[in-house]
Amino acid sequence: MALKIPPKKTPMKEQPPEERRKNFFEVALGYTPEEAIAEAQRCLTCPTKPCVKGCPVHIDIPTFIKHIKQGDFQGAIDTIKLYNNLPAACGRVCPQENQCESQCVVGRIPGSEPVAIGRLERFVADWEAEQGEVKLPEIKEKKGKKVAVVGAGPSGLTAAADLAKLGYDVTVFEAFHKPGGVLVYGIPEFRLPKKIVEREVEYIKKLGVKIVTNAVVGKTIPVDELLNEYDAVFIGVGAGAPKFIGVPGTNLNGVYSASEFLTRVNLMKAYLFPEYDTPVTVGKKVAVIGAGNTAMDAARTALRAGAEKVMIVYRRTEKEMPARLEEYHHAVEEGVEFHWLRQPIEYVGDENGNVIGVKCAVMKLGKPDDSGRRRPVPTGEEDFLEADMVIEAVGQQAQRILLDEFPQLERNKWGYIEADLETGATSVKGVFAGGDIVTGAATVIEAMGAGKKAAKAIDRYLSGEWNPWND
């Protein structure tokens, strides 16, 4: 059989860089039905389904794509939703190149790109929303058991939705005034419109999940109360707390954590100040420290909020950069500058305590470190980058409020919750955990995978099939 597969993914329309760098509208515009069908036809429907192994929530990818080929978009989204409760978000923000698409057989053909699985997932999720009525899956008979979920981010919402479908009474407690976690405070509007997050949260509510906002577990609701009132608890509070490098000048005016900058802009809509009350002051020259996805988000957000020049400052090189290639390319197209092999050693301020620049050590790459990436070592030279705003995006650490109030819960050496990665079971009976609060900062889909596994384990525990606490 002669196969004629177009070597390249069907392109997805995007806002042109010179236009989009000035607005907060979504960059990628999605497929038309014709484009989706054309792309679906690139799929070989491999019987071994290697792509599924690359997906943390094991979506039956060849089957959903087969439905698209046949023009049965409802069948496609129904298939996805058996596995994934947040498809419109995942289709947009999953690093498919490291997951499903990295396993795609088409992608192994020399000169050929893998099937655009993420784009197809996004297409059918958006298609269903456009139809108006979102179909609800089968919800099992009520079991009469209560589960509390702490945190309405990707892992918590996933665990909650799966447990609701299994017939449990699920209440999600969210500290913020809006559910969604990193999907609402972290990922910018131009990459994941907040309307889409709202839509996915609405779907989860329709499954019967109760979401209580402004509820800080450990403070508004004491941990003991939760343990007494619920048959099981899932903790998915995220990594949450910003890390600072801690160089001199960290507390100068104009130095931000990426979390603060992005929360102001995304959750509080500071880009619409003064229509919205929360302000943000964006500098003319902005230095973003770090080169992960959060750094790209912060840099591109700063551009849109009016910065004239945005620089990414990173101690290694393009090759070791943790950001998704797609995000990096978007940032380059939009005019973000990259300063490689620069490690900030001091933020310099003026006499009023406002930041005016970043003093950097010039680095070179040495031998590989524990992460397998070549370690940056100082050359002895220094460099100075002028900047009136600095945004540190160098990672996060364990969210503190809940953990401070829950000392019985064992932690690992990094301060995250010690939990079984297959089940989410923690050291405390009936308490499960997953997502960034267990693994440290990772991806949305990995957190969702953890929520899914925990939901299964909670079901087995509550139905008496399994009890890792052996009592």
């Binding site: 500290a175 005034h177 403070k219 508004t220 979390s259 919205y276 009350d277 302000p279 002051t281 305590g353």
Partner: protein, 283 residues
């Protein structure tokens, strides 16, 4: 869930007392805790303090001074109106124990924050002296409440009530003229007042002084780091490590500088709001 304003009254020009329906906060708040309020969908998250809690009614009291757009808007709300979001109690509670003789220094609406602390310290068996300071008579709030727990010395900037002068003059008076030794002190009020109270406390040999910091915050739950302050040479987040810190260790000039970061924006927002709402001299 929206939170109803059950009662509201004006205490002084631009200073208003609210009783808010929030059963979980009423039940769990301890002295020293704070809350975050958002008035409406376009509102910012405003950190405020708790003046008292009423467990049986499921309500708490807060006293707010209108200084910026959001607090003006809040103070213009009426009884039966609802606040969109109230979250808390947040922060670490005050360290209440029987210290012996305690000095409490309150300025402006900071007096309200100090009130639950005074009550708890009194119940823990401490002998309490309070200095309540205000610009003029009208701004000295809750005097009767504090009198229940011990002796009260009032200071006013203009001398319209009590002793003419600042709270630091009151401190000097109690320590030097009345020859009182204090085992610990709390100072809560405008940041500049707390700074000078801490300097004075150190000078007068008061062994320790707690202050309640109110830097700019966004989430109030340790997620953003906007509220970072330097205490004893280390960076702390006021929302989760505080808001109370050892006043002798706080880098005061830094926090005062950081609090001014949004001054221009705050001014724009307030001017624009006042233009829209017209005359607010009644507030």
């Amino acid at each position: 869930m929206a939170h109803k304003i059950v009662r509201k009254r004006k205490l002084a020009h631009l200073v208003h007392e609210f009783v808010i329906e929030a059963p979980l906060i009423a039940e769990h708040a301890k002295p020293g805790h704070f809350i975050v309020v958002r008035i409406h969908e376009k509102g910012e998250r405003i950190p405020l303090t708790i003046a008292d809690t009423y467990k049986d009614d499921g309500t708490f009291k807060m006293i707010v001074r209108a200084v910026g757009k959001s607090t003006y808007e809040l103070c213009m709300m009426k009884e039966e109106d609802e606040l969109l979001d109230v979250v808390g109690p947040l922060g670490k509670p005050s360290e209440i124990e029987n210290y012996g003789r305690v000095l409490l220094i309150g300025g402006g609406v900071g007096i309200a924050t100090l009130h639950p602390i005074a009550k708890a310290l009194y119940e823990a068996g401490n002998e309490i002296y309070s200095i309540l300071g205000g610009r003029s008579k009208e701004y000295v709030i809750m005097e009767e409440d504090f009198k229940k727990y011990g002796e009260v010395l009032v200071t006013t900037d203009d001398g319209s009530y009590g002793m003419k002068g600042l709270v630091t003059d009151g401190m000097e008076h109690l320590v030097k003229e009345k020859s009182l030794n204090f085992d610990v002190a709390w100072a809560v009020g405008p940041t500049v007042m707390m700074k000078f109270a801490a300097f004075k406390g150190k000078e007068l040999g008061i062994p320790k002084m707690w202050v309640s910091l109110n830097p700019i915050m966004v989430d109030g739950t340790g997620m953003c780091g906007a509220c970072r302050v330097t205490v004893g040479g280390e960076i702390k987040f006021a929302c989760v490590d505080g808001p109370e810190f050892d006043g002798y260790q706080v880098e005061w000039d830094e926090i005062i500088r950081r609090m001014n970061q949004y001054k221009e924006r705050e001014k724009i927002a307030l001017e624009r709001f006042l233009e829209k709402v017209g005359d607010v001299s009644w507030l």
